[in-house]
């Protein structure tokens, strides 16, 4: 498993825990699919929760709304951001 794949799997578990996504398993989250406006039913409060989680777990801060929209597009874009910053 590559570093990117490992980061995606780790993020899946962390997001499920942070957002208390009951009845959702990591396998059910498509890494390429849009994270918001999806079956997961995430909203703006969840976006704030993910920002807090990234800061707490990885020490990463989102600098602007525009940057956040790109990073939070999908789990894959988020994993790319994390991998790049902590490399």
């Amino acid at each position: 498993m590559s570093t990117m794949e490992e980061t995606i799997e780790k993020l899946k578990v962390q997001i499920i825990e942070q957002l208390n996504l009951e009845d959702v398993t990591p396998d059910e989250i498509d890494a390429d699919a849009p994270l918001f406006d999806s079956d997961l039913g995430l909203d703006s409060i969840d976006a704030l929760e993910i920002i807090v989680m990234l800061e707490r777990e990885y020490g990463l801060k989102i600098q602007s709304k525009e940057e956040g929209q790109k990073i939070f597009y999908s789990l894959k874009t988020m994993a790319e951001f994390v991998t790049e910053k902590i490399a």
């Binding site: 208390n20 996504l21 409060i45 929760e49």
Partner: protein, 357 residues
Amino acid sequence: MNNQVYINALACISPQDTLNAEQFLQSSEFVSGSPMRSIEPTYKEHIDRRYLRRMGRMVRMGVAAATKALADADIKNPDAILVGTGMGCLEDTEKFLRAIYESDENIASPNQFIQSTHNNVAAQIALMLGCYNYNFTYVHRGFSFESAMLDAILHVQEAGENKTDILVGACDELTDMYLEVTSKLNIWKSKVPRHSLKYNMGIKSEQGEGAAFFAVSNQRSQNTIASLDALRMVYKPQSSARLTDEIDHFLARQSLTLDDIDLVLLGYDGGGQKGDVYDEVVNSVFDGKNQAVYKHLCGEYKTAGAFATWLSCEMIRQQHVPEFVKWNAFEIDTIRRVLIFNNYNSANFVLSLLSHV
């Protein structure tokens, strides 16, 4: 009161199986515990999972009870949502404060903050319904539920002939930290002499929790359960004579005497009331009346009065007084009026009159 205040539906989550009200009242047994924790339903049957995942225990209890009461009354958009809570969302408050502490006051979860606010139950109900009407939460210690109910009464009065549907209720929860902290205050029952009669009966109260909600209206429905005819709060009366006067005036304002009351539901908490103002008044004013108690069923908490109201309504609806609530021995054929005479911590006294309609 000008308009009648009709209770058209109700639901209760408590340490007893109160969501199955008929079965519970007709049974001969009740659940005991120390402390008294609620029997919680499968929440997915009552609450959309999109909202459920964020809710703490108290919010789940409150929203589930409220949802059932609204569904039973067939109300989609109440004219007001009124909630009483003595302590608010304790579990989420603890989580929020712990997260702040552990992050050295740097990172706090927005959801934990939102969920920790005391008005969260009323807000979640409104969110789920898309209801933008009057929304208020009362946090008035031992008068929290009664304050919410008083607001509901005022809404009904102001509505005149226009139909108004109000959702009103209360909820409080127990947490381990709350139990730990309050146990240090020596305020709970194990620290004071229990009322001897209750002790002999094996009935004593512990700390409790629960949620009870009511759909009230100025108009009757086919399913109307009871009417709330009067409500009075009395804070720390100086003497038993003052409290006795309050009861006399309360009944006189309704053009009633004690002979018109079929059952008195008492708020003995199994603790230190023996010989105090409350006990004195019960023994003098209500001597010889049909008396029942309820706090051995739900435990003691600041909004236990909501459980008392639920129980009174169900006894009126089912025209049945379970043996396990009887304080003295009596048989009763028809329950027309129930007077709740409640007490919280020998400070908050409540008179509430419910009638069969």
